[in-house]
Symmetry: C2
Subunit: 322 residues, 2 copies
């Protein structure tokens, strides 16, 4: 049975999460043996296929900072997809240790295990937050300087540097994907989740952080996974750096109005004001995705279409409280 790009198993950290689990399903579909490592802090067993009916899937519940609990899963692996992270950017403001430990320290331990096991490739989910507050839109991969506004962005940048350092020092191949906002029905964080939760608590009003003019690019989880797999197939430099997003952006105000409409239109939208949603927020985000599209990948939906689809799914799965 074909398994992995070289017939060997692949490892996915954070594979039980909102993005990781979609990747795991795609890898299983192409015939891979998939070894998930997840501490289930925000991932859920239920996001993964039923192990009883998926003999090529294993889940190791472990914290990435404790390599003795998962290191052997990397033995013989063709590649490691390092998707695990703190998914809540704002949480890093309240406690700087969150992103440092779950991001930077965890990534260091994963890389050490990759090096020791001789795994030839590591693929990493980075973020547009490494660009800080760029003055160029759409922002290309070679943009600099990289001055993150958040501790989440700092952890992603630290991880990118570690991948690059390991790749050049030890001869492995590194893939760095800088994500726009990634959305899908399984999210436990992010703007749509927040809006749905707020309306569940109080269907009459929707508080929006900031002035609503923040505008960002939203890519569906499954299209993001398609993009990663396409790049992983077609790029083979020592370090392969690719933005993944859509060609357009949508404002927070528009998203709020769409969510309220989906809830029957009865809620009053209240803006807290200010250009940023929170300290560390980047109000404008639009990535250049020319590099990835030159490899033949392209997002199928605009940001607005991705938002519409996800709202419709969330209405179905979570119900509305309008």
């Amino acid at each position: 049975m074909p398994s992995g790009p070289t017939g060997r198993p692949v490892v996915v950290t954070g594979g039980a999460g909102a993005i990781g689990s979609v990747l795991v399903r795609a890898l299983l579909e192409r015939g891979d043996e998939v070894r998930v490592i997840d501490n289930l802090s925000s991932g859920r067993r239920g996001y993964l296929p039923d192990p009883a009916s998926s003999p090529r899937l294993t889940l190791t519940v472990a914290d990435l900072r404790e390599p003795e609990r998962y290191g052997e899963q990397l033995r013989g692996a063709a590649e490691v997809w390092h998707i695990a992270a703190n998914p809540d950017i704002r949480l890093g403001t309240a406690d700087p240790r969150v992103d440092f430990e779950a991001g930077t320290v965890a990534t260091f331990h994963v890389l050490e295990q990759v090096r020791r096991a001789g795994v030839p490739r590591i693929l990493f989910s980075s973020s547009s937050t490494v660009y800080g507050r760029p003055d160029r839109f759409p922002t290309p991969e070679e943009y600099g300087p990289l001055l993150p506004q958040s501790l989440y962005g700092a952890a992603k940048l630290a991880a990118e540097g570690l991948l690059s350092g390991y790749a050049h020092t030890y001869g492995l191949k590194a893939y760095v994907f800088r994500f726009a906002n990634i959305i899908g029905p399984a999210m436990t964080h992010g703007i749509l989740h927040d809006f749905f939760e707020k309306l569940r608590v109080d269907p009459r009003r929707l508080e929006v952080l900031g002035d609503g003019r923040q505008a960002k690019s939203y890519l569906r989880t499954e299209e993001c996974v398609d993009g990663m797999l396409a790049v992983a197939d077609r790029a083979a430099d020592a370090v392969n750096l690719y933005n993944l997003g859509t060609h357009d952006r949508i404002s927070v105000r528009e998203i709020a109005e769409k969510v309220v409409a989906a809830h029957g239109g009865g809620a009053r939208i209240e803006y807290t004001g200010g250009e940023k949603g929170w300290a560390g927020d980047v109000p404008q985000q639009l990535l250049s995705i020319d590099k990835a599209t030159r490899l033949g990948w392209t997002p199928r939906r605009t940001s607005a279409q991705a938002i519409d689809l996800t709202i419709a799914e969330m209405v179905r799965t979570r119900g509305v409280h309008g």
Copy 2:
């Protein structure tokens, strides 16, 4: 007595090191109260002025990863100069933990102490290694992508990101200085130290790593310190990013020939071959220093003059074995 930019004490991590100790003397000369924190792993008490004759200087011997041992030194400080680091770039190849612990983890702890003590400014010695292997010379601060070749560079990039994240999240000011090669008589690592050590062991031959065509920019320690102080005085953005180097570069071959000539000219130079001196080496390095020079600072010596002066000092202090 004037002390610090606001009359308050200043803290210098790594203040007993080859660069830190020159900074400490400059701060003392301008009237500051200086609190040095150093674990003396590569720093030396002897690099600092005699505490008996320097009542405004204190030394706390502590590891930066143990904040309970030094945190109170930051209370009431006007600024923290975070200069401590593993000074041996090549060592990071043998053991990836070295740069991660002494660089990334130490910097995180320092920033946490800065945040908790409410210190308004942090100034950090970063490195040209964050640029990886740039395709643009001289390399300006906005160069991207930042793909370090070494784990040393990865740790510097991680620290830069942390400073930026903290600055934007908690409102402190950050200064990031990306150094060219910094040289002075007190170095315990680096090319001149290595060459002198090799000739001490065997005066008849000098082994040079690589093909000798690596060419880099060398700035004297005291000029580097002048540059940092000038930028610290005159720049006041949230994050202030400045290259510090010279306008020119000099090849490893030329440096080897200068060192051999200073030793009487009798040694045979043997090149190990290859473009790089070691895995993670960046063979060509020349930083754009336009941004710093626009603030009024300029290096006084060329790279060759800096090398000549340092060789002469080392011949005086270490003797020759030609």
